[in-house]
């Protein structure tokens, strides 16, 4: 859970988050996220590496390589969208998965944790926005 440190969660808050998350291991070339699916789970790469593959006119293009510690799905968590790209493991990859409904329940019940969570997501989104322009 040290990957969430940039959110400045306290130890007890990290334990609460850990309690609602589960780990999954993917093999090389295994799909972690499929473009078009409706799933608002939030994922963190615990170890390994993934590629993000977007499609334009059905032509796949690798738009990003993400490594250990990266949070995936923050845009889709925030606004309900179909997944906008495939995410594929490029090596043995362990992912921590936060189920959307369970995370919402936790955030609604714990305001202090919610402030840190949304503040952290805001900074990630601002950083991404700034880099894109």
């Amino acid at each position: 859970m040290q990957h969430l440190n940039k959110f400045h969660f306290a130890d007890d808050e990290l334990k609460k988050l850990e309690a609602i998350a589960h780990n999954k291991i993917y093999e090389p070339e295994e799909l972690i996220i499929t473009e078009g699916e409706r799933d608002r789970s939030l994922l963190i790469i615990k170890s390994g590496k993934v590629k993000v593959v977007a499609y334009h006119d059905n032509n796949p293009k690798v738009v990003a390589i993400l490594a250990t510690g990266t949070l995936i799905g923050e845009l889709n968590f925030t606004i309900p969208l179909h997944r906008t790209a495939d995410v594929v493991a490029t090596e043995n990859t362990e992912v921590l998965i936060f189920n959307y409904d369970k995370l919402c329940e936790l955030l609604d019940a714990d305001d202090e944790l919610a402030v840190k969570f949304f503040e952290g997501i805001n900074l990630l989104l601002i950083e991404r926005l700034y880099k894109m322009i």
Partner: protein
């Protein structure tokens, strides 16, 4: 489910109840600017366009990267942080409401603070989505 439910039409205050909006003791000011004017963004302020068009310009190249219109929030990236900021310019005669948030008041309620952050999450995510879609369309 969602974490919070929209309670009104204001995109900044959308998750706040009437009571929470009152607690916020929000100061607001109507601002009118002429076309082609820079809009100064101040930390702690958020703006909503009432009438007109505002462009977001790349701080690196100066080119227009997004166009905002009536009802849209801008300047939200600087509400709680000062590291990142965007550059805004009016395209037309523009009227916007500038909301000045009092951090001492916000800090009294984590629920209100979380709901404001969540609203800003939405606004930033929508902008990112638009940029991503434009980028895919132009196949950059």
């Amino acid at each position: 489910m969602n974490v919070y439910i929209r309670q009104n039409n204001n995109d900044l205050l959308k998750y706040l109840s009437e009571k929470e909006v009152k607690e916020l003791e929000l100061k607001s000011q109507k601002v009118e600017q002429s076309p082609d004017e820079e809009i100064k963004i101040v930390t702690g302020n958020v703006n909503i366009i009432e009438r007109g068009i505002v462009n977001i310009l790349s701080p690196k190249t100066g080119r227009i990267v997004m166009t905002l219109s009536e009802g849209e929030v801008f300047g939200e990236e600087k509400l709680f942080q000062n590291e990142w900021s965007l550059f805004y310019k009016t395209e037309t005669q523009t009227v916007f409401i500038k909301y000045e948030l009092d951090f001492a008041v916000i800090s009294k309620s984590n629920k209100i603070k979380a709901k404001l952050h969540a609203a800003i999450n939405d606004s930033l995510a929508e902008k990112l989505m638009r940029l991503t879609q434009d980028s895919v369309r132009t196949n950059k």
